[in-house]
Amino acid sequence: MENEIASKINWTIFNTYKMEGKKKHKVFIEGPVSPAFIAESIAKHSSKTNIGAHSLFLGQVRNDKIGEREVVAIEYTTYQEMADEKFHEIREDAFKQFPLICMHIYHSLGLVKAGEISLFVFTSSVHRKDAIAACEVIVERIKKEVPVWGREILDNEDYQWKVNT
């Protein structure tokens, strides 16, 4: 009985600590997500030897054709205070919905050229199904719910506002 209470208290402390950790996590980075940054993120997880599976999603800027022009870059802007809250909510929900060991989200602000990476979602779990399912849910929510806007810069320096499908 005493053990049961003690274990509940520990669990609460642990969870609070985890939530604070999650809150501090910085999502936005200036410019593209570099492959070296992704490699570092992966390498950091080698000490978490209870992880069995990682699922990573990378959004890459496409050089879409707009009539005779093509997209050479996207400039991302955000409503940062609202986006931070939304990212936090998505993170909390993912940890509730899936038995994840880790999750990280990185999104670019400012200019990202065609062929460069603007979104990096990274989930880790003991078994593969959880990391894979969580990663997909998180990507879909980011696209739909987070106040970020992309301005597609064309090769004649004209632009148009990106529309998500």
Partner: protein
């Protein structure tokens, strides 16, 4: 009473700036009418309103120092 209006994405093309100040606006409905009168092109774009970072879907009473955001469709990722 003063409210602060933040403008994002393609709507900045219409307003020419990212934030606007208004005084004595009682509701989001009233704000919306004034915005459409000031910037008629707003009538041609889709956007949601957020009051203090919360998206609203119904007319909402505004209070002093509220922050209202005009949010065109998101296109992150």
């Amino acid at each position: 009473m003063e409210i602060n209006v933040l403008v994002f994405g393609q709507i900045t093309d219409i307003t020419g700036k990212g934030s606007l100040k208004f005084t004595d606006i009682k509701s989001t409905g009233e704000l919306n009418q004034l915005l459409l009168k000031t910037y008629p092109l707003l009538g041609s774009v889709k956007y949601l309103m957020a009051v203090n970072k919360r998206i609203i879907h119904e007319n909402t009473i505004l209070m002093n120092e509220d922050t209202i955001a005009l949010l065109p469709p998101f296109s992150g990722g």
